[in-house]
């Protein structure tokens, strides 16, 4: 076994590794992949290629637009029926496989344990599936009486020309509940990301603003881009409630359709997963004047910072005092566990390749444990998630993404919150930051290797080069990486543990790292006789 990289004098220059990776590729592919592999330099802010089409046959980890739309954004809302229009697979594979927890009260609707599909057959491909879709909606309404129905298009739907939007309009008129469609066919865009955008547009158009309920509570916020994996949102709900902050709506962990309908009455939007939900944050500000800030509740220090940032926005002595008290109390608990765990984790190396947000957020948690992230990347994030939002004006929209609609949003003259716009202006002058996200790369070490849309070959080479102590990725990578003798922590499903957000989450994560980085099980991989001379016996049993 090669010894782990010595990083006491900084991270090693990865250019040799990068060349070795590229050398295997056919020339055209080499040229493309070169731009997606970047040795980080936080002072210079290098450019990375992201959100471009996947190279066929490269063994990507990416999924599709449908997954980004139905699986990620709408899936966690418990009281609407998500009806998948397509053959059975798309519905089956998104059935309970993301761990969006939800806690309905007794008697409340919860459809998350169900998978709904039109189960298209060949005759629906030939003659069109609109009639079957309409019947499926009628049947779903008759049996389940849902408050709303979302229709999700899969690959063949766009090709055969089924118009889910007109079906939605017709059925909305017929049944009198909110019904809306999404053109989230799997082939649109280049990854899950297009599905996020399509979902944002649909939810903003058909749901947000449908319920002008009167103000409740003094400090009203929405949490955008938090999907309650393993109970993350529950932990954050606990903190907000204690601080006296009213969490109107979470997009979309532990959410209901109603909470989204009145989300436009909030005073502040807090964005957790920038990639999946920044569209709604921007549109809500344009239409309703609600400012947004980037927050991060992964890591105890980040959680404290984000809570403080929220309190600063409201600038209320009582709130500030409460938040400070919560932070002080929780930090004591966190520090006690950290003191126990950190000596065992200090100096270890991590790498992480996760969707579009966690590869950045979790670096904070690792930093708290003295673990260095040597390499990281996203499956489907855009350049702004890597380099920061300041690069947005320079991002070229290529042919594969051009057809994903950008909604034109105008000010709602009646509901626009001029007072919030004023507040934002005043706070900006004091140096408070709105609508901003620095991205992952400025916070990573010099020479850290940043890889977009990492593939299997690159994963192999990375492991060989860095010999990391822990690799963070998803289920498809997990057992591949572990066969090399390197533990893998799933940062999509949390390996069925969690929560990892907030203070309680930080404690859970510390303990999990103590387990993963401290176990001796990996040393038992070789049988003891492998290290002894082979014995040739003379008492062999004849067959």
């Amino acid at each position: 076994m090669v010894k782990k990289k010595d990083i006491t004098n900084g991270l090693p220059d990865p250019s040799e590794l990068m060349e070795e990776i590229i050398a295997k590729y056919p020339p055209k592919i080499a040229k493309k992949r070169k731009k997606a592999l970047v040795a980080n330099n936080p002072d210079e802010g290098p450019e990375i290629q992201a959100n471009v089409r996947t190279i066929p046959g490269i063994i990507t980890q990416r999924g599709c637009t449908y997954a980004g739309c139905k699986g990620v954004v709408l899936g966690p809302t418990r009281d609407i029926i998500n009806l998948v229009h397509g053959p059975i697979g798309c519905s089956f594979y998104a059935w309970l496989t993301r761990r969006n927890q939800t806690k309905p009260a007794e008697g409340e609707d919860n459809f998350m344990t169900y998978a709904f599909s039109t189960d298209m057959q060949d005759e629906n491909i030939v003659f069109g599936g609109e009639a079957k879709l309409k019947d499926a909606i009628r049947e779903a309404y008759a049996i389940f009486q849902p408050k709303a129905i979302g229709i999700f298009s899969t690959c063949p739907v766009g090709l055969i020309g089924d118009d889910v939007h007109s079906v939605a309009r017709d059925m909305k008129a017929e049944l009198g509940i909110n019904i809306f469609g999404f053109s989230c066919e799997g082939y649109r865009g280049v990854s899950q990301s297009a599905g996020h955008h399509i979902a944002n547009n649909g939810v903003f158009t058909h749901v947000v603003g449908n319920n002008d309920r009167p103000r409740e509570g003094k400090f009203q916020v929405n949490l955008l881009g938090e999907y309650n994996i393993g109970g993350d949102a529950f932990e954050l709900e606990r903190l907000f409630e204690e601080a006296g902050i009213t969490l109107l709506s979470t997009f979309s962990g532990n959410s209901t359709i109603k909470s989204m309908e009145y989300s436009h009455t909030a005073d502040l939007n807090m964005v957790m997963c920038h990639r999946s939900i920044n569209y709604i944050a921007e549109m809500m500000e344009e239409k309703y004047g609600i400012p947004w800030i980037k927050v991060n509740f992964i890591g105890a220090e980040s959680t404290a910072k984000s809570l403080k940032k929220c309190a600063e926005y409201f600038d209320d002595d009582e709130l500030t005092a409460k938040v400070d008290a919560i932070i002080a109390r929780e930090t004591t608990k966190v520090e006690a566990i950290k003191a126990k765990v950190k000596p065992k984790t200090e100096g270890k190396l991590a790498m992480m390749f996760v969707g579009g947000s966690r590869a950045h957020h979790y670096q904070d948690l690792f930093r708290e444990l003295g673990v260095t992230t040597v390499s990281a990347g996203y499956e489907f994030a855009h350049r702004d998630d890597y380099e920061g939002r300041h690069v947005i004006p320079n991002i070229k929209i290529d042919a594969d993404t051009r057809n994903i609609e950008d909604l034109t949003v105008t000010k709602d003259e009646e509901l626009y919150r001029g007072d919030l716009a004023e507040k934002k202006k005043a706070l900006l002058e004091k140096g408070y930051r709105f609508s901003d996200y620095d991205g992952m790369m400025p916070e990573m070490n010099k020479n850290a290797l940043v890889v977009d849309d990492v593939n299997h070959w690159e994963t192999e080479k990375l492991i060989e080069f860095y010999k990391p102590d822990v690799f963070c990725a998803g289920i498809k990578e997990k057992y591949v990486v572990q066969k090399y003798g390197v533990p893998l922590k799933q940062l999509h499903s949390y390996d069925y543990g969690g929560p990892y957000a907030g203070f309680e989450g930080a404690i859970n994560f510390y303990v999990e790292m103590e387990r993963m980085l401290g176990t001796d099980i990996w040393k038992l991989v070789d049988a003891p006789w492998k290290h002894e001379p082979e014995i040739v016996g003379s008492f062999a049993i004849n067959e």
Binding site: I55, P87, K478
Partner: protein, 460 residues
């Protein structure tokens, strides 16, 4: 309640499927292709399918599952995916160096009408396929049949590309395995060895999806049916296909292409189906049944007779794939259990006929349905109308088991929340004992938990 909206009132549905008892074709093709040595499955569609199918298999096996994809974009969806597949073939052979690329399609490439055979041919004539390497294909439209159909289609594709009759009769039989676990493949090979029957097992996922941890990752593990083995299938004495849904297409293909006669047997699950399998082997290979197998059979019957009181009259609901459900139903009936509700999302007319034959005398009250709208929602509604004592099926049954407080045995695909299926067989007489052990464990556990203290038994 996890499934709080499921009521006992069965409303006729013709368009809406809720909680399906099937998934789509390509995952079956992917699984079958993994049973060939040195093979990389390839999904010709947009990449979401491939990710989902890999994830489903890897969650089931807790093992690496490799596959590549054509990664369609909107452009290729309109103008055809030929260039995507050609590029993929070049990239795969250059970077990942498999012996074989096994391409399957999706609803996307099937709807736009990509002709996989033509593209694969073009790749060959354009020299995109290196010397000694292979690209094979199967059409697997997701809007026809189910995952089992996809398995059957890929098996047929494999036979089509590799089986070759060179007029040299080989004293061996072809065994086409239905969709069973690596553990079952291993058990099939063990039984063949005991029977002393030379054979080619296709596909064979043992040593592929149950690999040991040794500190090294092998992209192409040592298991899988090899190219020479597959080629030799055209010269075999006979073919036995295990499970009509999964293997009949390939058996017919072998007959048409290489004139190898075939018989289709049920998957050897339980007593009688295993008996028929052993008899068929004995007949076509002209071998006698060894004592060791007689002993195994006797052990299974021994356990059933010993434990009959805990099985008699127990009402069972089961769901899954027809090839498994038919012999399993027969096994349950043989043990005097009552399989009262049976659903499979996989269509096929034989299902009704076989179930009727198995159930009409002994369990006349049984309800069974397969194909359109035969889903787990319907089965749950039946259970609510009149309860059962036991559930047997894939992991999705755990929601019903918890809500209705019913003992639950996991069998079928996918099992996402327990291990064992890839290591311990459920086929053959030994597999029968294992099924029995699992059933008895949950039934007896229930008695231990629920009986009054004065009736709590030390010996059972």
């Amino acid at each position: 309640m996890l499934l709080r909206h499921t009521t006992d009132k069965v409303v006729e549905r013709k368009a809406l499927t809720v909680n399906p008892a099937k998934t789509c074709q390509p995952v079956g093709a992917m699984y079958a292709a993994l049973g060939i040595h040195g093979c990389l499955p390839h999904s010709h569609g947009s990449q979401g399918c491939c990710s989902y199918h890999r994830s489903a298999l890897t969650r089931h096996y807790k093992e690496p599952v490799m596959a590549a994809t054509s990664s369609f974009t909107e452009g290729s969806s309109v103008f055809g995916g030929q260039s995507n597949l050609m590029q993929a073939i070049t990239n795969i052979f250059t970077i990942y160096e498999p012996e074989i690329i096994a391409v399957h399609s999706t609803c996307l490439s099937e709807t736009i009408g990509d002709d996989l055979g033509q593209i694969v041919n073009k790749a060959r004539t354009d020299d995109k396929v290196p010397e000694g390497k292979h690209v094979i294909h199967a059409a697997t439209p997701s809007y026809v049949g189910s995952h089992v159909t996809g398995y059957a289609n890929m098996l047929e594709g494999i036979v089509k590309y590799f089986a070759n009759n060179t007029d040299e009769l080989i004293n061996q039989i072809n065994l086409l395995a239905g969709w069973v676990e690596p553990s079952d493949m291993r058990e099939l090979k063990r039984l063949m060895k005991l029977m002393k029957v030379r054979n080619v097992l296709l596909p064979d996922t043992s040593d592929v999806l149950d690999t040991p941890m040794n500190g090294h990752y092998e992209m192409y593990p040592k298991g899988g049916t090899t190219i020479p083995e597959m080629a030799s299938m055209g010269n075999s004495l006979h073919t036995i296909g295990l499970g009509e849904w999964a293997t009949k297409l390939a058996a017919i293909k072998l007959d048409n292409q290489c004139k190898v006669n075939f018989t289709i047997e049920d998957l050897p699950i339980g007593l009688k189906a295993t008996d028929r399998f052993i008899q068929a082997l004995s007949r076509v290979a002209s071998v006698s049944v060894p004592d060791s197998i007689n002993d195994e059979r006797g052990r299974l019957v021994d356990v059933i007779t010993d434990m009959h009181q805990y099985l008699y009259g127990k009402r069972v609901a089961l769901w899954g794939d027809p090839d498994q459900l038919i012999p399993l139903t027969e096994f349950l009936v043989d043990m005097d259990m009552k399989p009262v509700y049976i659903v499979s999302g996989t269509p096929g007319k034989q299902f009704d006929k076989r179930m009727k034959a198995l159930l009409e005398d002994k369990v006349p009250e049984a309800k069974y349905k397969n194909g359109a709208n035969a889903d787990m929602f319907l089965m749950h509604q039946w259970i609510k109308e009149e309860p059962v004592d036991l559930l047997i099926g894939n992991t999705y049954g755990k929601y019903i088991a918890r809500d209705e407080n019913i003992p639950f045995v996991r069998m079928g695909f996918p099992i996402l929340d327990r291990i064992g299926h890839s290591y311990f067989p459920t086929i053959g007489y030994m597999g029968g004992i294992r099924i029995l052990e699992k059933i008895l464990s949950v039934v007896m556990e229930r008695q231990d938990t629920n009986c009054p203290e004065e009736a709590f038994e030390l010996t059972m």
